[in-house]
Symmetry: C2
Subunit: 299 residues, 2 copies
């Protein structure tokens, strides 16, 4: 296992442990909604958003993992809410998520909608706890973060991306629309994770600019690699059926650009991301390796 893989494993375990602890206990009345929230969160994943926030905070010199944990969990709750709602029959209609039945298949649609609502709502409640007296951060900083997060997941971010994605179903879309969908549906929350991590770490303006450049490159590289995985990946490893994008007639970077050009664009993103990190010198090593790792991942 490489240093990066060991790091990702360690941080993922840390976050996996914290995620159920910050939620209302599973047996709190009314039980079923807390079960659904915990189920959605426990289905798992790479925990990339919290890891990115943590790594970015560390990059700018903030090392108190416990203090930053409410931010990390909030980001993952928000990601989980978006997945639960995306999977609903009225949206992408997916019965499985990471190889397990999606929330509305285990519970019912009504509870799944409410579990998503509740995770989103709870994420905001948890964010407020970062501020004094409960947390170590200033009230002004936490308020700025809430403003950043809420904007990034609204109609000019996450929700906007999902709307255009829904509207594009079974339609031929161009590269501009594809970029809008993924830039908002996926990359906006990655960027927010890194920016909020950097905010808590009190990053300088110059550092923040570099982090945003890296985040944009990371988001696009992640998406193209996701598209390529759907062509070249392994169904068992992925926990979802390979070739499903093509079967669904879904526009992807490879389908619009051709596989070769898509791979070239991904390599350019990796290079851009690495260049952005130059100002951090050796400290940027982890994120440098991460963007390469993500682009070459098999799951």
């Amino acid at each position: 296992m490489s240093i990066l893989e060991a790091y990702l494993k360690e941080k993922k375990e840390l976050i996996d442990l914290a995620l159920p602890l910050y939620l209302p206990p599973i047996d709190t009345y009314p039980k079923i909604i807390h079960e659904a929230m915990h189920y959605g969160v426990a289905v798992g994943g790479k925990r990339l958003r919290p890891i990115l926030a943590l790594t970015t905070a560390e990059l700018v010199g903030f090392n108190d993992q416990k203090a930053i944990m409410p931010l990390l969990c909030s980001l993952e709750y928000i990601h989980t809410y978006s997945l639960i709602h995306d999977d609903l029959p009225a949206m992408d209609d997916d019965d499985f998520r990471r190889g397990k039945p999606s929330c509305h298949r285990v519970f019912d649609e009504g509870i799944a909608i409410l579990a998503g609502d509740a995770l989103l709502t709870y994420a905001f409640e948890l964010l407020t706890k970062l501020a004094r007296p409960q947390g170590p951060f200033s009230e002004g900083l936490v308020l700025q973060m809430i403003s950043k997060v809420s904007h990034a997941i609204g109609t000019k971010g996450l929700i906007g991306g999902q709307v255009v994605d829904l509207q594009s179903e079974n339609k031929i879309i161009n590269l501009e629309t594809l970029k809008f969908i993924h830039g908002n549906k996926t990359a906006a929350l990655f960027e927010t994770a890194m920016v909020t991590g950097a905010m808590l770490g009190n990053a300088s303006k110059k550092q923040m600019k570099a982090i945003k450049l890296y985040a944009n490159a990371f988001g696009l590289a992640f998406q193209i690699s996701d598209d390529i995985l759907d062509i070249k990946g392994d169904t068992v490893l992925l926990g979802k059926t390979v070739g499903s994008d093509e079967k669904k007639n879904k526009a992807t970077y490879p389908s619009l650009l051709g596989l070769e050009k898509a791979e070239k664009l991904m390599l350019k993103c990796i290079s851009d991301g690495k260049t952005a990190l130059n100002i951090f010198g050796n400290k940027g090593r982890l994120l440098t390796e991460l963007i390469e790792y993500i682009a070459n991942r098999r799951i």
Copy 2:
């Protein structure tokens, strides 16, 4: 028209004007989600939550309507989100809301789910703007309000009430469960409106205590009067079918207590609410009249 009616009309018009202005413009890309958000908000209603917040702020001496407007609109956006999601086929499955087609009937279910999500998310974004430098309030105070609001509309408030309501469909429930449903689904947001209005008005502890007592009495009186209206009301005035609770086998205060006892309980709430306001002297007149008015309303 009584002084109270004139007051309610004036404030409702003020809020009706502000509501579309604080939202992202209707023709912002992606247009359909902004259309759905504006539609949901424009369907209207009494705007009781923002009016309660405003009246309570005024009660404790805060009279800057413009400064408080982001709070008032946020409360109404949150209320609208909860109605849009409640009306969905997977929830209460209502095709009409205030005599007009519900959001998922005008748009589709996916867009309605996202419009609810977006109104909720946007409400939090707007709340942050109450703080300096964009607004006149301290960051600490606004953060406390966000904490209060998010808690009140989570699984221990609004969402919790809707969960138990969903789970109680076609079941015989007891008075305790009915109280839980309405205490959380309806009264929690009324209370939050009054408490946050009082917070912005810098209420004393003693004032806050009285306002909470009044809010609880108000919430229950409102709910019982709503139940009674469903028996005695006028279908045309209400914009919904009278007798629908009975047809749906829905437990209500009159169905569990009998009409007479329910009316007595409502009168007790009115009396309790008025008593709580005693410390405000003549200044409490508007809210005193309001709780009577609400209990005796025909729409």
